[in-house]
């Protein structure tokens, strides 16, 4: 058993729902108990869809167990086909139905339905949402693709591509697709099919007509694309065009497969990010320590942008989906950090607290962790909340995506000049470390509480009360300790070091966003040197020792 408050991914049948909801004229008959319809809300509320997901839940109850659950499934399937008249259905079980072993695949096969019924085996107790989406898409493609389809000869026609991977509830999938179509237009490539998003089962039948595939989201389309490679000899573009560099590589890869000239697409004048990043206000971004966590695809892309396009230092990199851990490990090696592969948010919280970073890029969960630790944060990956399904055009991919990313990531940071002034005048009585950037809630009640807590001046022997949201005791102890250390430089009661009043005062003068790190470094240095007392000398010896 795994203790969890927050889960980065839902169960695999939610992945199947994401594929079914993305498609048209496909229906999902899901063997599931009452209550599993909660998942509809993800689509109708978070993504704001104006249609119910095309899912029929059998909704069995305790009194049905052991007698007619199989019959209930068949009735639900028959009714769904009659009512919705889909071109195909997918059938499967949720976690509870998996335990009662009714075999939806066999049951629907025996019914002689007027449309194909694709059976899904989604092991709920081993696998998760992304895997469920990938498996569902693969099974649909395998079942519906017309294997006898012969590609038309290339002479006298434009190249054809499939765009694979966009789903319902995908982070920015809607707008990424717009950008990718734009690039293909510039390269003179026609789109044979986008799938799952917007495709019907009949469209899927023609998937073999394309000259090559473009996998936008490996988490969802990788497995299907490999089968297509084997079955139709369709080569595949696997470069994910997030960031300016990655977009250029993507254009080159597509152009090569299409036999097209990449120049018009590469010369896209809407790409402002490189100049924004070179302009002098961005100088202060140099070497900013950034912690990155999310799904592997977005995390790897973000790490590359951070290093090569914004001049950040990546001080932490990880993903929650084990299936793509290899990609994270490779990128972490390039960044010179330990990869973090975990789906336990408490482990992530601890890693962030220990990384002494200045910016967190992550999911909805990291947004909260960062809020708690008082760190700037931007969202780069699902799971996300309703505000990350925006009304405005906000892609992550292509040159416009890079523009969006620059704005999104830099916004939470203090603007360069303002940071400089804050540092210059931090002794000024009207400034305090607690005053953040002018475009954020710098005077929130919490900060006021912090000021009060500091004014109350706890006795030096007792650790000060951390200023945190109520009910935070669930946070891991190390993070708590770190948070306390960040909140107040006074040594904790159990600290092995004695800070002189002078050194302590000096520590307070260090900008708050690096103070925790300075304190830890100084203590580590003191330990190595065998010094128990930390005075001004020690502080500056340590600073010299760790100088970047």
């Amino acid at each position: 058993m795994q203790l969890a408050v927050w889960t980065y991914e839902g169960p695999p049948h939610v992945g199947a729902m994401r594929v079914a909801t993305a498609m048209e004229k496909l229906h999902y008959v899901l063997h599931a108990p009452q209550g599993d319809t909660y998942a509809d809300l993800l689509f109708t509320m978070i993504e704001r869809r104006g249609k119910r997901p095309p899912v029929t839940y059998t909704t069995f109850e305790a009194r049905d167990l052991g007698k007619d659950t199989a019959q209930i499934f068949q009735d639900a399937a028959r009714e769904a086909v009659e009512r919705f008249n889909p071109q195909a259905i997918i059938v499967g079980a949720s976690c509870t139905a998996e335990l009662i072993q009714d075999d939806p695949g066999g049951l629907s096969e025996a019914m002689g339905l007027p449309c194909p019924a694709i059976a899904l085996e989604l092991p709920s107790y081993q696998r998760k949402e992304n895997w469920g989406a990938a498996e569902t898409f693969y099974q649909i493609v395998r079942a519906l693709a017309d294997k006898d389809l012969k590609r038309a000869p290339r002479e006298g026609r434009r190249p054809l591509a499939n765009i694979l991977g966009p789903t319902a509830l995908g982070f920015r999938h809607r707008d990424d697709l717009v950008e990718i179509r734009k690039i293909l237009d510039q390269l003179g490539v026609d789109v044979n099919l986008v799938a799952p998003l917007g495709a019907t089962p009949e469209d899927i039948a023609r998937i073999g007509a394309a000259d090559f595939n473009i996998v936008l989201y490996p988490e969802i389309a990788d497995e299907a694309s490999r089968w297509l490679e084997r079955t139709f000899a369709q080569p595949c573009v696997r470069t994910v065009p997030i960031g300016v560099g990655a977009t250029r590589s993507f254009i080159a890869d597509v152009a090569e497969l299409a036999g097209a000239d990449p120049t018009p697409a590469l010369g896209d004048t809407s790409s402002r990010m490189p100049w924004w990043s070179r302009s002098v206000d961005s100088t202060y971004l140099t070497g900013k320590r950034v912690f990155i966590f999310g799904d592997a695809t977005h995390a790897v892309a973000a790490a590359r942008i951070a290093r090569e396009e914004l001049g950040f230092e990546v001080c932490g990199l990880g993903c929650y989906n084990r299936e793509f851990a290899r990609e994270i490990r490779a990128e972490a090696a390039r960044c010179g950090v330990e990869p973090l592969i975990t789906d336990d948010h408490l482990v992530v919280e601890e890693a962030i607290a220990n990384a002494a970073c200045e910016l967190v890029l992550g999911t909805q969960m990291e947004r909260h962790i960062a809020k708690r630790l008082g760190l700037p944060c931007a969202v780069i990956s699902a799971p996300v909340h309703v505000q990350d399904f925006p009304a405005r055009h906000s892609p992550q991919m292509g040159f416009e995506g890079a523009n969006v990313i620059f704005d999104t990531w830099v916004h939470p940071l203090v603007m360069g000049l303002e940071e400089h002034l804050l540092t210059m005048f931090r002794e000024d009585f009207e400034f305090s470390d607690e005053a953040g950037a002018s475009h954020h809630a710098a005077h929130s009640p919490r900060r006021a509480a912090a000021a009060l807590a500091q004014a109350a001046a706890p006795p030096p022997t007792a650790p000060p009360e951390p200023v945190r949201e109520p009910e935070m005791a669930y946070a891991p102890a190390p993070a708590t300790a770190a948070a306390v250390a960040e909140a107040a430089p006074a040594p904790a009661a159990d600290s092995a070091f004695v800070w002189t009043a002078e050194a302590e005062k000096e520590l307070k003068k260090i900008p708050f966003f690096v103070r925790g790190k300075a304190k830890r470094n100084t203590e580590a240095f003191a330990a190595a040197e065998g010094r128990r007392e930390i005075c001004l000398e020690t502080l500056y010896d340590a600073k010299a020792h760790y100088a970047r």
Binding site: M1, Q2, L3, A4, V5, W6, T7, E9, G10, P11, H13, V14, P33, Q34, G35, D36, T37, Y38, A39, D40, L41, L42, T44, M45, R48, R49, G50, K51, R52, T56, Y57, T58, T59, F60, E61, A62, L65, A76, E79, R83, S94, C95, T96, L99, I100, P123, S124, Y125, Q126, K128, H368, K371, H385, E469, P470, E471, M472, A473, Y474, A475
Partner: protein
């Protein structure tokens, strides 16, 4: 001819006790099929806010954790006092002993959260289907961790409970551990059902003014300080979904005070008066105490009446609050009821409200969501009360909706919330008329 006569399922009979003569003939549409409802686990979202020293540990699957996270919205971020012990392949394959695993998880949890005084082990569909004995686990762990932590168990599974029935199951689990009152103790009042603190305080003030001295509340804010219970306890339900809790209270000798539910000026008056009658409070005194707050509520409701009067409303099943709320909207705001759907109809507890709802109103219990939506489309009500899985899709079809879950999460009981409750229904209608684009 009633539209019901043509619908299957209306003729089915259920055994009923003590129903009023008028009720006996009332046809109820009972349907089975897909139900678009939450399971009882969702109750944890508000129960853990109420019981400040309690922790809710669901033993379930990733789906359960995902549901709680989705239902809690951003509340998941307040590091709430609930979590899921997610069962994995190893637990199902018998590679590890589920009870040992549970011990490990609970011990880790109690180490991390020394502030927990009551721990609920909450059953789910997967744990119920594999027959994981959580009652035994609660007993065993309780023996280890008492007196510091009390460990209880109930089931919030979807196969057994719908949405608010999770609260019912939880409170029913608390009843056996309530301290006993001696048989000769003076009469005491017990308010049963989770209420927002502000509402609870209003009611306690009113009972005090009425002259009822001893008033307990279930659930208590402090789980280790439960009210006492005995044959001289008279309990009054603040929520309509507490059938199991009521049975558990009756089993310990407590007696129910028959009343309407405290929604609106009339519902709240009826509720308070019923309690006052039970405690032999002088009627003139009761009138004096209630006159001012009731007048305040009526005045506030009068302001909203023009927006709601004559508007046609349908309730889809969600929380069992549907019947009392329908009564309130019909009697106190002049709305016209089209269909009132409820996941479960407790005729005895709702008898006073049911008596007010005319025979032309379609009452339905249970759900076949597709057929019910066909009826909504045919009826074209001015406003449809439904869950969030249906609200936006119905809006897209041009129907105005009110999402039902808010009725469970907002302060809506009592005199001073009567207008807030009406406003919840008036707002979507006003917004519909306001928007020009």
């Amino acid at each position: 001819m009633s539209p019901l006569a043509t619908l299957e399922g209306c003729a089915s009979e259920i055994a009923l006790t003590e129903r009023p003569a008028a009720e006996a003939q009332r046809p109820i549409l009972r349907e089975r099929g897909q139900r678009e409802v939450f399971c009882g686990l969702t109750g944890i979202i508000w129960l853990h806010r109420k019981m400040q020293d309690a922790f809710f540990l669901v033993v379930g699957s990733r789906t359960c954790a995902h549901l709680l996270q989705s239902a809690a919205g951003v509340m998941i971020f307040a590091e709430p006092r609930f979590a899921t012990a997610i069962m994995e392949e190893r637990d199902l394959a018998g590679m590890v002993d589920a009870q040992d695993e549970l011990d490990r998880v609970v011990n880790r949890l109690l180490e991390r959260r020394p502030d927990i005084k009551t721990l609920f082990l909450v059953g789910s569909c997967p744990s119920e289907v594999i027959k994981l004995d959580l009652a035994k686990a609660a007993q065993r762990l309780g023996a280890i961790h008492m007196p510091r932590v009390r460990i209880l168990n109930y089931s919030g599974s979807g196969i057994e409970t719908t949405f608010t029935q999770g609260e019912d199951a939880c409170l029913a689990a608390l009843v056996p551990v309530m301290p006993a009152l001696p048989a000769d103790a003076p009469k005491e009042l017990l308010i049963v059902g989770c209420l927002p603190d502000i509402v609870e305080d209003q009611f306690l003030r009113l009972f005090k003014q009425l002259g009822i001295e001893r008033v307990g509340v279930l659930p208590a804010r402090d789980g280790r300080n439960l009210p006492s219970l005995g044959p001289n306890t008279r309990y009054i339900l603040a929520q309509p979904f507490l059938g199991e809790t009521a049975m558990a209270l009756e089993a310990r000798g407590a007696k129910r005070i028959e009343a309407m539910f405290p929604f609106g000026a009339e519902g709240t008056s009826d509720w308070l008066k019923a309690a006052a009658r039970e405690f032999d409070i002088d009627e003139i005194h009761v009138e004096q105490v209630l006159a001012a707050p009731r007048a305040r509520a009526q005045k506030a409701l009068a302001n909203l009446r023009p927006q709601l009067e004559g508007k046609r409303i349908t309730f889809l099943p969600d929380s069992q609050l549907e019947v009392p709320l329908a009564r309130f909207l019909q009697d106190e705001l002049g709305m016209e009821l089209i269909e009132v759907g409820t996941p479960y109809l407790h005729r005895a507890h709702l008898s006073r409200e049911l008596g007010r709802i005319g025979p032309q109103v379609r009452l339905s219990e249970g759900q076949h969501v597709e057929r019910q939506l066909d009826r909504v489309r045919a009826d074209q009500p001015d406003i449809t009360v439904c869950g969030l899985g249906l609200a936006n899709p119905l809006e897209m079809e041009g129907l105005t909706t009110k999402w039902a879950i808010e009725l469970v999460f907002s302060p809506i009981h009592g005199f001073d919330q009567a207008a807030d409750l009406a406003e919840l229904f008036a707002r979507p209608l006003r917004r519909r008329d306001l928007l020009e684009v």
